[in-house]
Symmetry: C2
Subunit: 630 residues, 2 copies
C-alpha cells in the first residue's frame, strides 16, 4: 500500500521522523552527531569489511541499529522520495556487502572480535536477532526502491543460517535467544517466495522450549558462562520464553520485547500456514499480555529485572519498566493478530500503545528518547534511588543500547500498514491515520483532527466494489457515535468492534463521528497499585498530571469523583498542540509534622490540570503521575 501524508496528528509526527529522527539517527550511526556518544555501528561494518582499522565497539547486537534505521529510511522513501537519503542507504548497503563473509555470514561482532565463536551462544549473543533486523531492513528497502543488493545479501546470510541450524543431524537444534529472526524470515519468504525461509522460521518456533532444552545444552557446552555477566549464572528459561514449547505457553513471561517479537513471529506464521494450535497459543498470549499485564498507557514489562513481565495484575507505577520497544512490539503483534482474526479489541490495544507509550518514547522535538516509561515520577527519587535508577525523569539524547529510537522511527514511517489492512473484500481500518492510503482496490483519504476532534471524514476512491470496515474503539458508546455515508445516516452497531459498509466502485464520502468525552478510568480490582485511584482519558489519549501545572507533591492531590471534567480548547502553542483536561479536586495539606502523627491531614480544594501522557517531560523537570487518588 502507498501512503501520502496529510496534515493531521500522525502526519505531523511522521514528517518529524523523516525530517529530524532519521537524519539524527544516521548522524549517530556514522559517529557524526555532536555531544553524543559515538554509536560505531557503521564503523563496525567498515572494520569487518576491511575498509577501516580498529576494534569493535558497542553491544553484541550493534548491527541491528543499522538494520532498523535502513528499514525506517526505506519506509520514509516510500512516502517521500529523497535521493540523498537513498544514496546514504546505498553507501551503507555497499559497506554491509563488503562485511559479509564468503560463506554468507554477516555479523560484525563475531567477524571482528570473536571470529572463532560464531553460533556458540545463540542464547546471549543476538546473531539471529541482528540478522533479523538487517533482513527486515533489506525487505523494506527492496519494497521501497526495487533494489536487490541488500535483499540478496540478507538472503545469503539466511541461506548460511539454514546450513548451520535446523533439524538435520550435524546442525544446531537451536533458536534465537532474542526472537526477531522468526518474523524477519517470514518477511523474507514473502518478499522472495523462497519456502526455505518459511521453513526455517517454523523450525525456530517449533523447536523453542522443547526437550532436551537447547539453551541448557549450549550453556553446558560453553562452560555455563553468561555473556552479559561474565559469570556462571543459571539459565532463566522463562526470560527467553524457552521454558516450554510455545504452543503450551499460556502466560506472557520473561523479557517483554523478546516475548512480543516471538509472539509476532508466531502470529505471522500461524496466519500464513493456518496453524490452528499456534493461533490458539497466540490468542492466549495476547490476552495474557494485554488483558492482565498492560499499563493503562499501553506499556508492557513491569519490572527492570530482566526488562520483564511480572505476574498478572502486578503493575507498579514508579518502578515500572514499560520499555518503548515493548509497546512498539505490541503494535507488531497486534498487526499480526489482525491477520488471524477480526476483533476490534486488538486495534484498541494497539491504539492504547501508540498514542501513549510509543509517543512518550520521543520528545516533542523528536531529539530525545525514553527507553523506560514510568507512570509516576518523583524528583530526587526517580532515576536516583535504589530500584528506581532506570525510571529517568528526562529523556536522554541517546542510549548505549539504542534499540528504542529506531524502533519508533520504523513503526511510525510504516504506520499506514498498521492503520489500514487490505483484505480480499476491501479495507479494514484499525487506526485513524490522517492522509491517503492507496491499495489495490481503492484509495482511502482521511481528513481529521483526531484525536483532538472526533470527526473522521473519509473520501473513498474505489476502483471496484469494496467493503469498508471501521473499528469503533472500545471506549466509545456506539449509541453516541454517528456514521454518514454519502449523506445517508447509517446505524453504528459494531460487530466484534467493527462497522461494515458496502462501498460501490466510484468516489464516496463516509463521515464517522466519535464522541470524545473525557472519561475516568478505573483499573480491575486485581491491580493493587491503583486501588482507590483514577486515571483520565479522552479518546485514545491517556492523561497525566505534571508538576508544571499542579502543586507538588502530586501524591497529595486527590480527584473529586463527582466533578465534571472540562476539556480545554485545542491550543496549538501548548506542547505542540494539545487539549488539556481540568477537574476539580483536593490538595492535602503538606505541612511537615512528625514522621508519624495522629492528625489527619487537612485538605483544600484544588483544580487539577492534566496533559496527554505522551507530552510529559517536555517542559521543566517536575513530578508526573498518571493515577490520582480519588
Amino acid at each position: 500500500m502507498r501512503y501520502q501524508l496529510g496534515e493531521g496528528f500522525w502526519s505531523r509526527r511522521i514528517r518529524q521522523v523523516q525530517d529530524r529522527m532519521i537524519p539524527l539517527q544516521l548522524s549517530i550511526l556514522k559517529d557524526e552527531a555532536p555531544d553524543t556518544e559515538p554509536s560505531h555501528a557503521i564503523e563496525n561494518f567498515k572494520i569487518a569489511a576491511g575498509l577501516s582499522k580498529g576494534e569493535f565497539h558497542g553491544m553484541v547486537f550493534q548491527d541491528s541499529d543499522v538494520g532498523k534505521w535502513i528499514e525506517a529510511a526505506a519506509y520514509s522513501l516510500m512516502i517521500r522520495p529523497d535521493p540523498e537519503l537513498e544514496r546514504e542507504v546505498d553507501d551503507i548497503v555497499e559497506i554491509i556487502g563488503k562485511a559479509q563473509q564468503p560463506d554468507g555470514y554477516l555479523n560484525t561482532w563475531f567477524t571482528i572480535k570473536e571470529p572463532g565463536k560464531r553460533w556458540t551462544n545463540l542464547q546471549d549473543c543476538h546473531e539471529l536477532y541482528s540478522f533479523g533486523h538487517l533482513a527486515e531492513g533489506a525487505v523494506a528497502y527492496h519494497q521501497a526502491t526495487g533494489k536487490r543488493a541488500f535483499l540478496d545479501i540478507m538472503c545469503r546470510m539466511a541461506d548460511h543460517i539454514d546450513t548451520v541450524i535446523g533439524p538435520e543431524e550435524g546442525k544446531l537444534h537451536g533458536y534465537p535467544g532474542h526472537p526477531e529472526a522468526e518474523l524477519a524470515l517470514w518477511r523474507l519468504y514473502h518478499e522472495t517466495g523462497n519456502p526455505k525461509y518459511l521453513k526455517l522460521s517454523q523450525y525456530f518456533i517449533d523447536q523453542r522450549g522443547t526437550e532436551p532444552n537447547f539453551f541448557l545444552e549450549e550453556w553446558e557446552r560453553r562452560g555455563r558462562i553468561n555473556h552479559w555477566s561474565g559469570r556462571k549464572d543459571p539459565v532463566n528459561l522463562p526470560y527467553y520464553q524457552a521454558h516450554e514449547p510455545v504452543r503450551e505457553q499460556k502466560e506472557a513471561v520473561g523479557h517483554a520485547v523478546r516475548a512480543l517479537y516471538l509472539y509476532t513471529g508466531m502470529a505471522c506464521i500461524a496466519a500464513e500456514t493456518k496453524d490452528v494450535s499456534l493461533a490458539e497459543a497466540c490468542r492466549r498470549l495476547w490476552k495474557s499480555a494485554v488483558e492482565e499485564k498492560m499499563y493503562v498507557t499501553g506499556g508492557l514489562g513491569a519490572t527492570v529485572k530482566g526488562e520483564a513481565f511480572m505476574g498478572p495484575f502486578e503493575l507498579p507505577n514508579d518502578t515500572d519498566y514499560a520499555e518503548t520497544c515493548a509497546s512498539v512490539a505490541l503494535c507488531f503483534f497486534g498487526r499480526a493478530m489482525s491477520r488471524l482474526e477480526k476483533d476490534g479489541r486488538i486495534g484498541d490495544a494497539v491504539e492504547q500503545a501508540l498514542y501513549n507509550t510509543v509517543l512518550a518514547g520521543v520528545s516533542l522535538e523528536a531529539d530525545r528518547f525514553f527507553y523506560v516509561n514510568p507512570l509516576e515520577v518523583i524528583q530526587g527519587v526517580s532515576g536516583v534511588q535504589q530500584g528506581l535508577e532506570h525510571d529517568l525523569p528526562r529523556r536522554p539524547k541517546w542510549y548505549a543500547c539504542a534499540c528504542c529510537p529506531p524502533n519508533v522511527a520504523r513503526l511510525l514511517t510504516s504506520l499506514a500498514e498498521y492503520a489500514v489492512q487490505e483484505t480480499e473484500e476491501g479495507f479494514v481500518v484499525h487506526q485513524y491515520l490522517d492522509g491517503a492510503v492507496e491499495g489495490e482496490k481503492a484509495k482511502l483519504t482521511l481528513q481529521t483532527q483526531y484525536p483532538w476532534e472526533g470527526l473522521l471524514d473519509y473520501t473513498i476512491e474505489a476502483k471496484q466494489d469494496i467493503t469498508l470496515e471501521l473499528r469503533i474503539p472500545g471506549w466509545v458508546n456506539p449509541a453516541e457515535a454517528t456514521l454518514v455515508a454519502d449523506g445517508a445516516e447509517k446505524p453504528v452497531q459494531p460487530e466484534k468492534g467493527f462497522v461494515k459498509l458496502e462501498i460501490p466502485a466510484g468516489v464516496h464520502r463516509v463521515v464517522l463521528s466519535l464522541p470524545l468525552k473525557p472519561r475516568r478510568i478505573y483499573a480491575d480490582p486485581r491491580v493493587r497499585q491503583t486501588a482507590g485511584c483514577v486515571a483520565f482519558a479522552r479518546g485514545p489519549v491517556v492523561y497525566c498530571l505534571e508538576g508544571c501545572d499542579n502543586p507538588e507533591p502530586l501524591w497529595n492531590l486527590q480527584a473529586d469523583p463527582d466533578a465534571e471534567i472540562t476539556v480545554t480548547d485545542y491550543d496549538s502553542a501548548c506542547l505542540k498542540g494539545v487539549r488539556k483536561l481540568l477537574v476539580q479536586g483536593y490538595r492535602r495539606s503538606d505541612v511537615p509534622g512528625a514522621l508519624y502523627g495522629t492528625q489527619r491531614p487537612e485538605r483544600e480544594p484544588q483544580l487539577l490540570t492534566a496533559i496527554p501522557y505522551y507530552a510529559w517531560a517536555n517542559r521543566e523537570q517536575r513530578d508526573m503521575r498518571v493515577w490520582i487518588r480519588e
Copy 2:
C-alpha cells in the same frame, strides 16, 4: 544491674528466648539441628584449632554467630543460672582459645581458608566485625560468670589488632567495612579499663571517611576485586558510611545495620569522652534515621539494594527491607543516645522498634525468623516476583546469613539494660519491662500487663534517696495519664518526655496509668507511599490487617475515617495473647472486569479486624497490610 523475670509480656518472651531460642541456636551452631542447614560455625573453630579436619563453610563472618550466641547465653545466665548452658559456653570458649593463633589473631576464615590474606580486605571481609561480636560475647560472659578466659582471648586479639591498625607509620590506616568493633572496643575498655581499646575505637571512628580514603586505596591494592561479587566493582563509599568523615555526615545512608552499628559506637564514644562534635553528629544521624527514614513499625532500611536506607521519606511498603537486625541496632543506638541526652523521643523510637519489627522477626513459637519485615505482603507476589523476592510471606527456619535471630536473642535477654538506666541520681525508666531490676541504689519491681493494659504498678525498694524518672510515651496525652506515688496523686507534666519523682530511701509504690486508646496514625505528607492511608495502633503496638481475619485482597479494603475503633478483650488463646482492633470500613467490589474500564468499583460495608503487626504470619499463609486506604 540484675534482672528478675516477672509474669508479663516481656518476661514471657525472654523466657521463650531462654527455653527455646538459645538451645535451638546452639544446636544449629553445633550442626545438630534436624532439618536445618548446618551452620558449621563451631566446626570452623574446631578446624582452626586443629581439633577437626575439613574445609571452612559459611560466610566470611560466620564466627560472629558464635559471639552473638555466647552473648545471649551470658545474659540468660545473669537472669537464671544454668550450669548446663554455662558448661556449653565453657566448651566453646576452650575451642575458640585453641583456634587463636600465637600472635593473638582469631578468625577462622583467614586461618583455614585464606591464611595469607589477613587484613587485606577490611572493606568486605568482616575480620573486625567478627572480632567485635566475639568481644561483646566475652564481655558479657565475664559479667555473667566472672570467668576471664574468653575475655583474655579477646583482649589478645584486640592487642593484636592494635599492632596492625592505627595511625603509626607501618600500620594500616583502616577501619571496619562493617562497623561493630567500635562499640565492642568501647565495651572491652569498660570491662578491662585498658585505655588502648578506647583509643583504638576512637581511631576507627576518627579515621573513617577521611582523605586519602582507605577503602579506595585498599581496593587498588587488591586489584579492585570485590569479595562478594568476585568482580571489579567500583567502591560505593556511602554504603560503608565511608564517604566523608563521620563528624560531617548528616544523613543516615548506606547499609542500615552497618550505619546503626557505627552510630552506636560513635554515641558510646561521644558519651564516654564528652566529644561534643561527635555527639552532634550522632544527634543529626539519629534524627535522619528516626524522623525521616523509619517505618511506622520501627523498621529501617527501605531497600534490598545494599540492604540500605533510601532517601528521606522514601518508604515503600511492599518492596521494603527493614531488616530485623536494623531495628535491633536502633535499640543499641537509642540506648547509647540516652547516655548522651535525656529525651523521651529516643525511648519512643526504641519502643516502636521493640514492640513491632524486633518482635515480628521471631515467630510466636520462637522457632522461625524473619530477616526482612515488609509492611505489605501479597501471596504470589511477595517472595516471588522480581524485586520482591526478599519479602517473604513466611518466616524461614534459619538463614545462611543468620545475623538476625541471635541478635534478637541477645537484645531480649539484656532488655533490662535498655529499659532502665541507672544514673548518679537514680533510675531513668525508658521502657516498661515487667519484673524486677536491681541496681546499686534500688530495686525496681514492675507488675503490669502492658502493652495490653495501661496500669504500671511499681514497687521501689530504695537503699538511699533516689529520683525515679518515667518516660511518658509521645503517643500519650499526659492530661489523660495519672500518677500516684504512695497514694498521693502527682501531676503528669513530662519534661522532655519524662516525669520525675523524688523517692526517699525505703519501700514505695508508684502507680502510673497510661490511657491505651486505639489511635489512627497518619504519615508525614512527604511520604508518598502512605498518602491517603491510615495505620492503627494502641499504645506501643502497631496493628496490621491479615487475610486470616479480613477478605482478600486487602488493598480493596478501606477504613471509615469517622468510625470508632473497638478494642477486643484480651484473648490469651489468640496469637499467644492479644487484643484485636475492630473498625468499620468498606470493601471495594472485586468483580473482575476489563483491565481498564470506566465503571467505578462499588463498595460495601466491611468490618476490619486488625492484629498486632508483630503477630503476623503465625497462622495460615495469607496477605498482610499495615497501611489501609481511608
